[in-house]
């Protein structure tokens, strides 16, 4: 009997001990990562890889011990491409769920809708798309490529190879308008000529008139910064009308994988500068692609936004672990040292202290008649230098503004 009682006590002790260990773990709650990505609506085909990239990174980080020993809890909401929902869900994640970091947004319109809400909190926000550049805001870290990495490489190359006359087709919202402004500035510096610019309302899918306007203007090449599934119909219709002009873009191929969605040769002769495209053939990139496709076998294409979304979580991990804190101000102290770097599948990328944008290894790619992708030129690592040059310095002053070539910081 006695031995039985002792055994019972031991068992009780063991149970309590386990409970105590459980309690110790519960005292270290998971880090909450708020994610806003469209997985329904018009941009779902681009947003889906962003969700997948985030899920893959969270799974990998959790398996290897989390961040500072804490697991990550991913809270994803689907704003369905609606900017008002971005704001509503953004408030919900920041104020109710009290997330430690907010990630996401596809269009520049959704980012600008979110930014004022993020700015009222002390939560860091990661924007993971390539975009038109210029946001100088201490709350935001930009993981994607910007015009000095994409347009300052692509446009001179296109001018040299195809000629000085360009026609621009752009989506009619802040991304398209500001990207077109960048093109005007760079073309002017190169002595080129913008023979036409057409801004297209989102959702427009018929381009017969645009195609004729282009033929009337007789450009040497086209800059296509049209956005969304409806506007992408341009490529099919231009090919059917035998327009046959070289094209350049900052968002085609690696972002919208039009070369996978359209039947060849609709995307023939398209050129783009990218920090990531699935056809990159390096050991690190191949390893990354293998892990991705193992988890998501049905993925049509790993696009650059999905890749940047994956990197964002690793960058967040690096910042938190170096700062030994999840507070934005402590993380920004790490960024200010210039030592906020990770080894990404494209190579080493670092956050620039002045602008909080990311350096990237840029390559110029072209699409052939069978939609095969070729690397035309490797630019190596390019810093996001433009904001720093025009006077944005987040280590000294938080402007909370977006600058463009025609809207520069006032000199004070």
């Amino acid at each position: 009997m006695n031995s039985g009682r002792i055994f019972g006590m031991a068992l009780l002790g063991a149970v309590l001990g386990t409970a105590a260990i459980g309690a110790a773990q519960a005292a270290d709650p998971p880090l909450k990562v708020g994610l806003l990505e469209d997985v329904s609506g018009d941009l779902a085909f681009m947003g889906m890889p962003k969700l997948h990239g985030s899920q893959l990174a969270v799974e990998e980080i959790n398996k290897s011990g989390g961040i500072l020993g804490r697991q990550i809890e991913l809270i994803h909401l689907d704003p369905q491409g609606d900017n008002a929902r971005y704001q509503e869900f953004g408030r919900r994640l920041l104020n109710r769920d009290k997330v430690d970091v907010l990630i996401g947004g596809i269009t520049s319109a959704s980012r600008e809708a979110l930014r004022p809400i993020v700015d009222r909190t002390s939560t860091p926000y990661f924007y993971t798309n390539q975009y038109e550049g210029g946001v100088c805001d201490a709350s935001m870290v930009s993981m994607g490529a910007v015009p000095e990495q994409q347009f300052s490489t692509l446009i001179p190359w296109m001018v040299q190879k195809f000629g000085k006359k360009v026609y621009v087709i752009a989506a009619d919202y802040n991304f398209g308008q500001i990207s077109a402004e960048w093109n005007r500035k760079i073309m002017k510096d190169l002595g080129g000529e913008v023979v036409g610019e057409e801004f297209i309302p989102l959702g427009v899918s018929q381009f017969a008139q645009t195609i004729q306007n282009i033929q009337k203007a007789k450009p040497d090449w086209l800059l296509t910064i049209n956005v969304g599934a409806a506007q992408d119909s341009f490529f099919e219709q231009a090919a059917a009308a035998n327009l046959n002009l070289p094209m350049g873009s900052s968002i085609k191929v690696m972002l919208g994988f039009e070369h996978k969605r359209f039947k060849p040769p609709a995307l023939n002769n398209m050129h783009a500068t990218a920090n990531w495209f699935e056809e990159i053939d390096t050991p690190e990139a191949n390893d990354f692609k293998k892990r991705w496709h193992a988890k998501f076998p049905d993925e049509l294409y790993i696009n650059d936004m999905g890749y940047n979304a994956y990197n964002a979580l690793y960058m967040y991990k690096a910042l938190v672990e170096k700062a030994k804190s999840t507070k934005l101000e402590d993380m920004r102290k790490v960024i200010a040292t210039g030592d906020a770097c990770i080894d990404a599948p494209e190579g080493k990328v670092c956050i620039d202290p002045k602008s909080q944008h990311t350096s990237h290894r840029m390559r110029l790619i072209s699409v052939g008649p069978k939609h095969e992708v070729t690397v035309e030129k490797d630019y190596g690592t390019i810093q996001p230098y433009w904001l720093g040059e025009i006077g944005c310095d987040l280590t000294k002053k938080n402007d909370k503004d977006q600058y463009t070539p025609s809207h520069l910081p006032s000199k004070s």
């Binding site: 997985v39 329904s40 609506g41 018009d42 779902a44 085909f45 947003g47 889906m48 009619d172 057409e198 801004f199 297209i200 309302p201 959702g203 427009v204 899918s205 018929q206 017969a208 008139q209 645009t210 004729q212 306007n213 033929q215 009337k216 007789k218 599934a229 409806a230 992408d232 119909s233 099919e236 219709q237 090919a239 059917a240 009308a241 035998n242 327009l243 996978k260 969605r261 359209f262 039947k263 060849p264 609709a266 049905d298 049509l300």
Partner: protein, 288 residues
């Protein structure tokens, strides 16, 4: 000069075809039955997806397109039987019911088929006039739009079904009293309407990106055409499409797509302000 003239015609034909093909189905369902079918865009999407699916299975494009239109028509008749029929006396509720259907279908397609489907490519063929090159397929679309109008004219003006259908439209109770099976008339009319929506999707499928929400790109144009056209398909929708196509073509050519779209919608506001019953109210009155 002749190149410029042809270009004007081609652009007009292109916008006209888009308006007629996207609006015809909606106009029939609205004109015949007074039902505003908010799932119209989803029947267009259905036509497009069936076409691409069949072409990928090796079916020749024109046959795939006809089968896609028939599929949309049959699904439409099933939807009429299960849902729309219950709402004939409650037009506002039918609007809500079809809208709900539209949301369910879009989201289900996203979950089942995925967010994007690879396109099939436009049938080859282009020709050059002056400095311009044109896609032959766009003229085929124009031909189809004219054929749809001619077909509707024959069905509704020259057949026995058409006579009974028009009688049902004017006074359903009296038609029923005279022995017309109005329930079947409604079912067939709804089927014709959704088959035309499916045909629109089938015809535009090769020229577009296929995503579950693609119907939405047709919906604005189809609704404004029906709204300013009024309840009569032949005397309303067709003149409305001619009128809107002229405005849009002229503005697109001179000022680009943004002004083209703004101008078209502005014209719509003006017309419904002056003619609340739509263009057909004037034309039908003249005809009497």
């Amino acid at each position: 000069m002749s190149a410029e003239l042809f270009s004007l015609f081609y652009q007009f034909a292109d916008v006209f075809a888009f308006l007629i093909l996207s609006a015809a189905g909606l106009a029939i369902v609205f004109g015949m039955m007074g039902v505003i079918n908010m799932a119209h865009g989803e029947f267009i999407m259905c036509g497009a997806y069936v076409t691409v699916g069949l072409v990928n299975l090796g079916v020749p494009l024109p046959i795939a397109q006809i089968l896609a239109a028939l599929t949309a028509g049959i699904i439409g008749m099933i939807v009429e039987l299960l849902i729309v029929r219950r709402f004939y006396k409650r037009p506002l509720d039918s609007l809500l019911a079809t809208w709900g259907l539209s949301l369910i279908v879009t989201q289900s397609m996203l979950l089942i088929v995925g967010s994007a489907v690879r396109g099939i490519g436009t049938p080859e063929g282009s020709f050059a006039i002056g400095g311009y090159t044109f896609s032959t397929y766009r003229l085929v679309l124009f031909g189809c739009a004219v054929a749809v109008l001619a077909g509707l004219y024959i069905i509704f003006m020259k057949t026995r079904f058409g006579v009974i259908a028009r009688a049902t439209m004017q006074n359903a109770a009296m038609a029923k009293a005279l022995g017309a099976r109005t329930g079947r008339i409604y079912s067939i009319s709804f089927g014709i309407g959704t088959a035309l929506a499916g045909l629109c999707g089938a015809l535009y499928a090769p020229t577009m990106t296929l995503i579950p929400t693609m119907g939405a790109t047709f919906v604005v144009e189809s609704f404004v055409t029906v709204v300013i056209g009024g309840a009569n398909v032949l005397l309303g929708t067709a003149p409305a499409a001619v009128f809107l196509a002229m405005i849009r073509m002229a503005l697109n050519a001179s000022y680009g797509q943004i002004i083209g779209q703004i101008g078209m919608l502005f014209a719509v506001i003006l017309i419904i302000r002056v003619l609340p019953e739509g263009l057909s109210s004037v034309l039908v009155r003249r005809g009497r």
